[in-house]
């Protein structure tokens, strides 16, 4: 689940919340807060305990995926993923380019 975006729908207790993202197919589950990080996005129009249908509508109206992609957090995650997947040659090219950039 690492890196997935969900919307908090209800709060169970001090440790767990009910989350969901119908847009990406993330199920409606109780999730420990320890494993969640807050993102500076609030989807308006979701009342406490809102059902999946309404959550979906609200997320679509808010364009959650697009807004998430714009955040710096999302960009950093993409960058990290890209760096991890670089092949040996790509890593070499990155090094050359950085050196060239510094030289200029």
């Amino acid at each position: 689940d690492l890196g997935k975006v969900v919307v908090i729908v209800d709060i169970a207790d001090g440790n767990r919340v009910l989350v969901e993202n119908p847009g990406t197919g993330f199920p409606r589950v109780l999730y420990p807060l320890r494993r969640l990080g807050l993102v500076n996005l609030v989807v308006p129009g979701i009342l406490r305990g809102a059902r999946t249908g309404n959550v979906k509508k609200a997320c679509e109206k808010f364009e959650l995926t697009a807004k998430w992609e714009k955040t710096s957090e999302s960009k950093k995650m993409q960058l990290r993923a890209k760096r991890a997947s670089l092949t040996d040659f790509e890593r070499f090219s990155v090094m050359i380019n950085r050196k060239n950039k510094a030289f200029k």
Partner: protein, 263 residues
């Protein structure tokens, strides 16, 4: 009458079920698998179903002539009689003191070494051991011994045409176009085998001093190297970064863990 009816009923039901099962045979297995991983028919039933005893043709085996146990051999000398009966197979002179078990037969079969899928002709490999460790070289082909034939190219990183073991190599995803490369026929495992040093007759003063001559590449090797590298260099030089890449050695830096890296 009732009993007969029941028997008829049972036999009918049996024949009923039998007629539903296809004989298969030519099309496939005569022994369908039931749920639970159990075969429908037992060994004896299958023997009857296969009826290979009906199909088998007996080949007339020519009667084997028994091997003669004794032959007569000519003996020289006047008083020795002209011939002597000598056994064809001499009895052993050696009788071991302890009974030993006969050794088990060696049933090993040497199979050709499997080449990793990631290693294709033209793949850039990172050598991990020996003189050229850290160098990025181009893979040419797998030799019959299972070892990989690689080349630097020599002018790029000093690695000549060389044999390398698959296990001491990291295959990268980078490929060089070697479709124009013609590897000479003579380049095979025997080509790379070490030559046994001819033993010099020891002179008095040369007892302890052994002047080992350094390795010198034969003209044959130089010619082959040139021939193979020419085509590779042509395709490598098209992208200057690829040339620099082959020149550079691979090293691990801080925070780099091979199991977390893609190559």
């Amino acid at each position: 009458a009732r009993r007969a009816n029941i028997l008829l009923f049972i036999s009918k039901s049996l024949s009923f079920s039998l007629s539903f099962e296809p004989a298969m045979g030519e099309r496939g297995s005569r022994n369908p698998l039931l749920p639970g991983g159990v075969s429908r028919y037992s060994r004896s039933k299958m023997f009857a179903r296969r009826a290979s005893y009906k199909k088998r043709k007996t080949v007339a085996v020519a009667a084997k002539q028994p091997e003669p146990r004794f032959t007569s051999k000519q003996v020289r000398g006047e008083k020795n009689g002209s011939t002597r009966n000598v056994p064809v197979r001499a009895s052993t002179k050696m009788y071991p003191t302890e009974d030993t078990r006969p050794k088990l037969k060696n049933r090993k079969i040497n199979k050709p070494t499997r080449l990793r899928k990631s290693i294709q002709p033209g793949t850039v490999l990172i050598l991990l051991a020996n003189a050229h460790r850290g160098k990025r070289v181009v893979f040419l082909k797998q030799l019959t011994s299972g070892l990989l034939l690689v080349t630097g190219p020599y002018r790029v990183n000093g690695c000549p045409l060389r044999r390398v073991d698959q296990t001491y190599v990291i295959a990268t995803q980078t490929k060089v176009d070697i479709s124009n490369v013609n590897i000479p026929e003579r380049v095979d495992d025997a080509y790379f085998r070490r030559q046994a040093k001819a033993r010099k007759s020891k002179a008095e003063g040369e007892m302890f001093e052994e002047k080992t001559a350094g390795y010198k590449a034969s003209d044959e090797r130089k010619a082959d190297q040139k021939a193979v590298d020419a085509a590779i260099l042509a395709s490598v030089k098209k992208t200057p970064e690829l040339l620099w890449y082959l020149r550079a050695k691979f090293t691990l830096h801080k925070g780099q863990y091979p199991h977390q890296m893609a190559f």
